[in-house]
């Protein structure tokens, strides 16, 4: 559970930092305003939807930290190293392309470049779909090679993590689809600034999560051995 504890510590530090700026030491019982004397509420100038998205990402991070905690805690002698299908590298490239395209879409929306926005969104959406198809193919390949979900915990985690990640991307596709529909219906690029920004943020986040998960999966076998070494070291009786 050390990963989730570390996450809680980080979140607590952020919460403490935020609370320290909220004037919590004030004495509200003494603070009565006259007409016109209106205190600043301290609400953030960040758009509400953006704040909502960041909070949602924090929740997803909590789930991720828990999954990674569970991942480490479950590594046991029955853990078999997972093969690394080369297609995963192609998929990773597709997700990077998708994320980059949405970054371009965000810039285009800020500069009111409708055509570039439309193209970037199309590339972003298409490469995200290609990524999802690629992930399904990887799972099919693993299955065909005899690595069934119930086979060993490494495969089970791979299924669980990739499916969870894919479903989140699918959810993002809904938002991207709605934004795209608006631009095809003739909305101005400037009207889509917030939507594209939110989509780009979400895509970058999912790319970062995928990079983390992929790194974890690549390192699993090596990590398992390393963890076993550490465990042996700790459990060794001093002087024995």
């Amino acid at each position: 559970m050390s990963v989730i504890i570390a996450f809680v510590v980080v979140m607590s530090a952020m919460a403490a930092w935020w609370l320290s700026r909220q004037n919590l030491a004030s004495k509200p019982w003494l603070d009565v305003g006259e007409i016109g004397e209106v205190r600043d509420t301290g609400a953030s100038r960040i758009p509400t939807a953006k704040l909502g998205l960041w909070l949602f990402l924090a929740i997803v991070c909590a789930a991720l930290a828990l999954l990674v905690s569970a991942y480490f805690m479950r590594i046991a002698p029955d853990w078999r190293r997972l093969p690394e299908p080369p297609l995963l590298w192609v998929n990773t490239g597709l997700l990077i392309l998708s994320s980059f395209a949405l970054h371009r879409a965000r810039v285009a929306a800020q500069r009111d470049q409708v055509e570039r926005l439309r193209n970037s969104m199309m590339v972003g959406g298409a490469s995200a779909v290609a990524f999802l198809v690629g992930q399904v193919l990887v799972l099919a390949q693993l299955n065909a090679a005899g690595h069934f979900v119930a086979g060993n915990p490494a495969v089970a985690f791979f299924y669980l993590l990739t499916v969870a990640h894919g479903l989140h991307l699918l959810g993002g596709m809904v938002a991207l689809g709605r934004a795209s529909a608006r631009i095809w219906r003739g909305a101005e690029a400037s009207q889509l600034r917030l939507s594209t920004e939110l989509c780009a943020t979400y895509w970058h986040f999912l790319l970062a999560v995928w990079a983390l998960l992929f790194g974890l999966l690549l390192l699993t076998g090596r990590f398992a051995e390393f963890a076993q070494d550490i465990a042996d070291f700790i459990c060794r009786t001093p002087g024995a």
Partner: protein, 594 residues
């Protein structure tokens, strides 16, 4: 002075943030059924939660019939008993209390109390309720499937919950896990709304430190829930994988009926960690809104400002933070390293400090106050006493050496029912008696209310005090029938029968409560806008019940905190939050506490 109208807000500078765009319904369906108005959603949440809570109550009756009079009824099998305790526990903790405090009270009160027109994401808020309803329906559906609902106990520990000897192993456990996942997805949608609304949609002048403690309680509890529920979600999905796909996340190598199962290598303790990483904050997800609400009830009905407002806010935040590092005190008997037990016992006992601060502050608020023994006040007093009693047995169970012999006995059941069942329900009752006039425009009947609260309060003590004793002599929980033992004297059975009879009486008193609620809709005394003469914003709406958009043309402007009761020199014994100080006069001192 109190007659100051919000028109005086004309002189103030414009809001820092633009107003939230308000959704207007266009049809009967979008007004009354698929409503996006937080007030309706709050009522929908509350009614659904109370309805499923009634199912939970009936289940407890059936269980008590068995425990109190084991030889008298033969309709119940041991399996059914396990199914009923499981469903009773999960329904009461998650589907009733969490949904009612956050979805019900949160939706109705947050926008009104912070002076906004609605939640910031109304569509998502509506979805939140409908997904919650779906989760409830999936849960209820498990009663009607082959094998019935799961009987794994509300903690759903594997491997037991997945093995075929456990009732509901075929479909019940699957539906339970799906229902929980749905509940969490729905709650996340609602929870994001509550948090962002508090952060971004407060009206002008409503600083965080001018928010009523009810909003603070719901706000902190929602943050906890948003971070803790993912643990249950992850645990539920992984358990679902184990059950349906045959993975071994949690399932160890195991032999069942002489046959080795396909599982192997999984860690049941991992599930316990995930479950309790959610499970302990869950206690505070329920308790913190109760703390907030009870603070407001006491202040209003004792006509006195809350004592130590700042400390109350800080204590809420500190309790929230600490609740994430105590989870393993539910796992002392899981074979954990003794040093971990030492750590978790220490953190657990530390929580007693901010909690005690809150209890002292409630008591000091009551000290020499103008206490009106209204029904909401009776509920608030009942809560304080009960929470204190339940908290004291928590000190027993928080200590490893005391917990080990008491673990899995009826003492634990009595403890958490006091602290998490009776105490929050007193607040739920108090909250409903207090805000019913704002919701409906009519008062609940006070006489019926007092009868209901006194029977519930005294009855609950007559149920749970003997239950502590039954636990102390060693009677285990989750046993269908005790049979003859060497440790339990015959009086245990007499006590069990007594507890059961009290349970039926307390349950029957809830019928009176339901009758009062329904009858008062048409026959209750008209309440007017502010029958309790309270200061917080929800009582200052132009219409009662508040209409869509809450505030008419102009949002209120806040000039003071919500506890200006009995201010020396004021015309009345309360000054609403939207009343400014008289011009060119020194600011009013809030209270003797200032």
């Amino acid at each position: 002075m109190v007659g100051f109208t919000p028109d005086s807000a004309d002189a103030v500078r414009p809001a820092e943030l633009d107003e939230v765009e308000l959704y207007h319904s266009h049809s009967w369906w979008t007004t009354w059924v698929f409503s996006q108005d937080a007030k309706y959603i709050g009522i929908q949440y509350s009614l659904t939660a109370l309805a499923i809570g009634l199912v939970g109550l009936v289940l407890s009756w059936v269980m008590r019939l068995q425990l109190g009079f084991p030889a008298l009824f033969d309709f119940m099998s041991p399996g059914m008993y396990l199914q009923f305790i499981t469903m009773h526990g999960m329904i009461m903790v998650v589907y009733l209390l969490t949904a009612l405090f956050l979805g019900g009270f949160g939706n109705f009160l947050i926008p009104l109390m912070v002076g906004s027109r609605d939640m910031v994401f109304p569509y998502m808020n509506m979805l939140s309720y409908w997904i919650y309803l779906l989760a409830v329906l999936v849960l209820v559906a498990s009663f009607f499937t082959t094998g019935g609902p799961t009987g794994a106990g509300w903690t759903l520990y594997p491997p037991q919950s997945v093995l075929s000897g456990t009732p509901g192993q075929q479909t019940g456990i699957v539906l339970m896990l799906i229902s929980l996942a749905l509940f969490i997805a729905g709650f996340t949608m609602g929870g994001l709304n509550y948090v962002v609304t508090v952060l971004q949609a407060r009206t002008r002048g409503m600083t965080l430190m001018r928010m009523p403690l009810t909003v603070w309680g719901i706000f902190v509890a929602t943050v906890l829930a948003l971070l803790a529920f993912p643990a249950l979600f992850v645990g539920a999905v992984m358990l679902l994988f184990d059950r349906l796909l045959g993975t071994s996340f949690f399932m160890p190598t195991i032999v069942e009926l002489g046959q080795q199962l396909k599982y192997g290598g999984g860690s049941p303790i991992l599930f316990q960690h995930l479950f309790w990483f959610f499970g302990h904050p869950e206690v505070y997800i329920v308790a913190l809104p109760a703390f907030g609400i009870v603070s407001d009830l006491i202040s209003v009905h004792a006509r006195k400002n809350i004592f130590g407002y700042r400390m109350m806010v800080w204590a809420l935040v500190i309790i929230g933070g600490l609740s994430f590092i105590v989870w393993a005190h539910h796992m002392y008997v899981s074979g954990m390293h003794p040093y971990f037990g030492y750590f978790f016992a220490t953190t657990t006992l530390i929580i007693a400090v901010p909690t005690a601060i809150k209890v002292y502050n409630w008591v000091l608020t009551l000290w020499r106050a103008d206490i009106h023994l209204t029904t909401p006040m009776l509920c608030a007093l009942g809560f304080i006493v009960t929470f204190l009693n339940g908290g004291l047995t928590g000190l027993f169970l928080g200590n490893v050496v005391v917990d080990v012999p008491l673990s899995d006995t009826m003492f634990v059941v009595a403890h958490f029912h006091m602290v998490m069942g009776v105490a929050p329900m007193m607040v739920v009752f108090g909250g409903i008696y207090h805000w019913y006039p704002k919701i409906t425009g009519r008062m609940l009947d006070e006489t019926m209310g007092k009868i209901h609260v006194w029977i519930s309060f005294l009855g609950a003590y007559l149920i749970f005090l003997p239950m502590h004793y039954v636990g102390l002599v060693g009677v285990p929980r989750r046993y269908f029938e005790l049979g003859e033992t060497s440790f339990a004297p015959a009086s245990v059975q007499t006590l069990n029968a007594f507890i059961s009879i009290m349970g039926f009486i307390v349950g029957a008193a809830q019928v009176l409560f339901a009758y009062n609620i329904i009858r008062s809709l048409s026959k209750g005394k008209p309440s007017g806008g502010n029958p309790w003469r309270a200061c917080s914003l929800e009582w200052q709406t132009p219409q009662t019940p508040p209409v869509h958009g809450n505030w008419g043309e102009k949002l209120p402007v806040v000039y003071r905190w919500p506890y200006d009761f009995s201010v020396p020199g004021a015309e009345q014994d309360f000054i609403p939050q939207n009343v400014p100080a008289p011009s060119r006069a020194p600011p009013l001192a809030g209270s003797p506490a200032s």
